[in-house]
């Protein structure tokens, strides 16, 4: 079976790769491109650990074939900080201790970034509904929600 050639822009870099038809975008990101920040949790779109932003839209990389990403622009957690300067969301997650084991954290950060890119002034309800697709099994959601709301307030000021 011949491989599929895919051209993308990932975290501002032009990236071309060959993949098998059945490889998900998450498989290619993690196993071939060695961008292991995005995690695999459920592989069924319930946990959000694999969240990436494709063409400005939040998606689950586990439910997307790599071949479907042809021509798209992808943001992953690896592109969120600017060198050693953390993204404001990352800093607020640290300040609020909004993480423990960290497996869900890349997904939460990406999902929260997608929200704030779109709506810089969300209500708490909007944050909670938006992040309903991301599961955390240790920290709990309050600190995460507060970190997102405080980032929004900080960025607006």
């Amino acid at each position: 079976m011949s491989k599929v050639h895919v051209s993308t822009i990932i975290n501002d870099d032009t990236v071309e790769f060959l993949c098998e038809s059945e490889q998900t975008l998450l498989d290619v990101l993690r196993d071939d491109l060695r961008l292991t920040g995005s995690k695999e949790g459920c592989a069924s779109g319930d946990c959000g650990a694999c969240s990436v932003i494709m063409d400005g839209r939040l998606v689950c990389a586990c439910l997307l074939l790599a071949a479907e990403a042809e021509g798209s622009t992808i943001e992953t957690i690896e592109g969120m900080a600017n060198g050693s300067d953390l993204h404001p969301l990352q800093q607020q997650f640290l300040d609020h201790a909004a993480l423990q084991c960290g497996v869900c954290t890349p997904g939460f950060l990406i999902a929260a970034k997608a929200l704030l890119d779109r709506n810089p002034d969300p209500t708490e309800t909007e944050v909670r509904y938006w992040l309903a697709g991301n599961l955390c099994r240790c920290t709990g959601y309050d600190k995460i929600v507060r970190a997102v709301l405080d980032t929004a307030a900080e960025t607006r000021n």
Partner: protein, 279 residues
């Protein structure tokens, strides 16, 4: 577990997609993949070929006339949620779309994919039943138009045939005095619903359709006469639970008291939703 080996083709036109679908005995349509993706990852389906139809321009069109809106099969739930398409009236479609799954799912999942999968707990299945929508189906011999009641056969089962695909969904523009209500009961936002109710009460078009969804099979269109409903009478604020329970119980092979309770509750919530939205 990971998907089995399969081939992947990106169709550029409806005709090309139909040709590809008829070339393999074991081809599946990929229309966003938010249901098919998990099924592939869990190897619940093991196709030889996936035909991706999401890049076909015709399938992401929206045609709005004075009487109908036709939405291409590959328009995403998020496009409807964000009001990037024409409104039927009462902001109905956007209100339904915003509650489907999670935002990441809504960004990729499509209307056509949802109705083709025909999961009884899918929001569009109940919504389209209440709207009396028509499904445009393209195949080798051209296009046929199927009313939603004839399109759905049962849980996860439709009348779509081999080598056919959903081209779009045609829905009526709603009248000025329409009331639309939608409600679902789920354990958590984004989860599959335990019960759904969808109501379209449109006196201008002589239409009143009250649907209970997330059943074990087809969405249940309530009998207007049995419940004192209809386009000529005002939509009640509440329904007398006694006759509603009897009516719903009659449609269950074995009456399930918990399910009857959530179905009655979700109907009342949909009625409240219909009355809460400014007409």
């Amino acid at each position: 577990m990971k998907p089995v080996d399969f081939d992947y083709e990106q169709a550029k036109s409806v005709d090309e997609a139909i040709t590809l679908l008829t070339q393999s005995a074991d081809a599946l349509i990929l229309a966003g993949g938010q249901t098919l993706g998990p099924m592939l990852n869990l190897r619940l389906v093991q196709p030889e070929l996936l035909v991706d139809i999401t890049r076909i321009d015709e399938l992401v069109r929206v045609e709005a006339s004075t009487t109908h809106v036709t939405i291409g099969a590959c328009v995403s739930h998020a496009a409807v949620e964000d009001r990037r398409i024409a409104d039927l009236g009462h902001d109905f479609l956007a209100r339904v779309a915003g509650g489907i799954g999670y935002r990441a799912v809504r960004n990729r999942g499509t209307l056509g994919g949802s109705v083709a999968n025909a999961d009884p707990a899918a929001d569009w299945v109940s919504c389209f039943a209440a709207l009396d929508a028509e499904i445009l189906v393209s195949g080798q011999s051209g296009q046929r138009i199927v009313k939603i009641d004839d399109f759905l056969v049962g849980a996860m089962e439709t009348t779509i045939g081999t080598g056919e695909l959903i081209n779009g969904i045609r829905m009526p523009r709603l009248g000025a005095s329409v009331r639309c209500g939608y409600a679902k009961i789920s354990r958590k936002p984004g989860e599959f619903a335990d019960a759904i109710a969808a109501i379209v009460h449109d006196p201008d078009r002589g239409c009143c359709r009250v649907v209970v969804g997330a059943t074990d099979g087809l969405p249940l269109l309530l009998d207007n006469d049995a419940l004192g409903l209809g386009p000529a009478v005002a939509l009640p604020a509440v329904l007398d639970p006694g006759p509603v329970r009897d009516h719903l119980a009659w449609h269950m092979p074995v009456p399930d008291l918990y399910r009857l309770n959530v179905q009655c509750a979700v109907l009342q919530r949909a009625l409240a939703d219909a009355h809460a939205f400014p007409s």
